[in-house]
């Protein structure tokens, strides 16, 4: 039984990309004080919209944009319900996941196994074939590079820019932000759409690049893992990246272990990425006082403007 570390790392990065994108989007949403439990539903909407457009147009770029738009449209329903009609965020988010899964299944009827174009790699062949370094660092898809860049961009924006400060302020105390004249609902609406688009991009990557097929329910809990990542990563983008790679790494490893037919039940191996990721992140965030400091204080609370 030989596991090639280079292909393992390449697989790790690829598998982790959808989870990473969705978790980063949800991180921004939660930093703005909104708990959207519909990540799984938005991801699968992104996956089906991306796959259909890739099949119909043959353009990966349009496919990714369609995935983002489809998931953002779904998140807009959530935004209208929770921000304008002030529905409960937990219940609405759960409903969004169920609705997204059902709607995606409906839209995807007849597309299973349909051909889609290959997605070209952004860097030239010459660089990608450099031993070891090529596949690990230079051989990925554009969306993967975008996801990793987004980790730094979101960290920088939240930490060092006025926009980030306003987002954090709204998530910390919507009443105080409102008293200072910030448009709480508008800011949260935009954050929810951003979270939807990121989840949609993750979903489209899953169907168009990673699996290259549409399968009903193909996200298989990736959206839930993304949600868990955000909380256990204490709302820190860097830790989200670590958590996503950990998840991707175990997932890639267990597939290889399954192929090697070692004497461990397949069900246990299947569950291992979820288990290990959550256990490690729980241990990392066990200092509750510090984690609480990072948690948006107004998370999940309904904002009702008065006076």
């Amino acid at each position: 039984m030989i596991i090639d570390p280079v292909t393992l790392i390449v697989a790790l990065v690829t598998i982790s990309t959808p989870v990473l994108l969705a978790a980063l989007g949800e991180l921004v949403v939660e930093k703005a004080g909104v708990l959207n439990l519909g990540v799984e539903g938005m991801m699968i909407m992104g996956a089906v919209c991306g796959f259909i457009v890739a099949n119909l147009t043959g353009s990966p770029t349009l496919a990714f944009l369609a995935g983002m738009a489809g998931a953002a449209a779904l998140s807009a329903i959530f935004a209208v319900l929770t921000q304008f009609l002030m529905s409960n965020q937990v219940a609405t988010g759960l409903a969004l996941t169920l609705f997204g899964l059902g709607l995606a299944a409906l839209l995807g009827v007849g597309y299973e196994g349909q051909p889609i174009p290959d997605v070209a790699k952004p860097l030239p062949e010459m660089l990608r074939t450099i031993p070891v370094i090529g596949p690990i660092f230079l051989g990925h898809d554009l969306v993967t590079y975008i996801a990793i860049f987004a980790v730094f961009a979101i960290w920088y924006v939240l930490k060092h820019t006025r926009l980030g400060l306003i987002i954090r302020a709204v998530g910390e105390s919507h009443d105080a932000a409102h008293a200072l004249g910030y448009k709480v609902i508008r800011i949260r609406f935009a954050a929810i759409l951003f979270g939807g688009a990121m989840a949609g991009l993750g979903g489209a990557f899953l169907s168009v690049v990673y699996v290259e097929n549409w399968v009903q329910g193909m996200t298989a809990g990736a959206g839930w893992i993304a949600l868990a990542l955000v909380v256990f990563a204490a709302w820190k983008p860097g830790r989200v990246l670590f958590g996503a790679w950990l998840f991707g790494g175990i997932a890639a490893l267990q597939l290889r272990l399954q192929a090697a037919e070692i004497g461990v039940p397949v069900a246990l191996l299947d569950a291992s990425p979820y288990l290990v990721t959550i256990i490690v992140l729980v241990i990392m965030s066990s200092d509750r006082a510090r984690t609480a400091l990072n948690a948006p204080a107004a998370l999940g609370k309904t904002f009702h403007a008065t006076g």
Binding site: R162, R168, E172, S173, A176, A177, A179, L180, P296, G307
Partner: protein
Amino acid sequence: MTAPLLDIRGLTKAYPGVIANDDVSFALQRGEVHALLGENGAGKSTLVKMIYGLVKPDSGAMVLNSAPYTPAEPRAARQSGVAMVFQHFSLFEALSVAENIALGMENPPKPRDLSARIREVSHAYGLPLDPESLVGDLSAGERQRVEIIRCLLQDPQLLIMDEPTSVLTPQEVEILFHTLRKLSAEGTAILYISHKLEEIRALCDAATILRLGKVVGECTPADVSAAEMAEMMVGKSLAVPARDATEPGDTLLAVENLSLPAVNAFGTSLKEIKLNLRAGEVLGIGGVAGNGQDELLAVLSGERRTPPGTVQFQGRDVGTEGPNTRRAGGLLSAPEERLGHAAAPDMSLTENAVLTGQSRKGLAKGGFIGWSRARSFADDIIAQFDVRTPGNATAARALSGGNLQKFVIGREILQDPVVLVVNQPTWGVDASAAADIRQALLNLAQNGAGVIVISQDLDELLEISDRFCALNEGRLSEPRPARGLSMEEIGLMLGGAHGMAEAHLEELHPEANS
């Protein structure tokens, strides 16, 4: 006389069912400290919210610097040079001082420059602040400094302060007034809302009085007495709480040699507390916040248990009993924090009435709540203490602070206590309601109950107490008869360990030292 800085002409704002402001007009000069007076619900907050752009007037006009002024939102108000310090701080606890200040500015400078500016301005006005510290770690006084500095950094022409002193210690009030006088001398106009009439007399140049949304008078606070101002606010003369002299009866509550370590790092440990309360007397306990008031109340109410033999109630050792057992016996209490301690914010007034009244009022039998009895008990409180609320089904958090205070105090008084312990009974309550609460406490004592009033309002304590003692760093002084006690003597009783705060004041008033 030059044109006024802000001229308000006929502002009117109606909410469904109530006219908050009805044709309000007044003018504010440059450098003037102008008080806005009125009872709870007189329309002061609505008026300043219109000036700050949070609420749009239905009709009327405002003129700022001889130009029409119609702020669509707070941002526009800030750009016009109007800044506001809120009654409930609009601060973000998990953000640093500098980040909080940046959020309240239109064009904040770079973080490093901003931190330097904060240090510079805060020291110039005697309000030292560390820009990097988290707001969640600051005291109420320091948080208010953050709000004030945030306003000052924008060089406002008009600074609105909505009840700024209600959460401050006397020392912090002194520092704040020093800052405000300095600002006023530099030409900044200050619109000052407060219930504390003596403060207004000490600080303000002019006052406009509102009642039920209308301007009912103007005065120069220094020239009229606090009682006259209170009469203008209420529209009738205020009854000074009074009662007939009674001889104190038997000892009801005795605390002996009680020492208790603090619960956490921010608490105060109680040290060798000894007190004795007799039937028919009011014992006043004064002291600056954070000297053990909350801890003392917790010990008396039963929230914290104490070793046997330390707390005796009617000759019975109750130190190890919980609050419910003590309540059943007639030892009642009302803590300072209204929302979340004295009342459950999201529960209705009826439910809150059941929470403390169930045993003495027989509101629950065999585990079932008697809702009709509970509702009539809640209605009694609402009627007798003039609690302004749509009904007994309203959530506690929907009431204004003063109204909820009337409810939580009334709830205990109507349970016919043998001993009642209250902490800050009139905090944030307007003058006439405060007088009613004090009168109710006195009536209780007159009818033979023992009352302990813990308060930071020394005037209140002198008005209603028979004996006065001071709580200082967890130690309780020997009680002295309150009658004839002068403020200087009280100051000495409270003084003891407040060398730090005094040194700070001397720094601000070097002349006082020389």
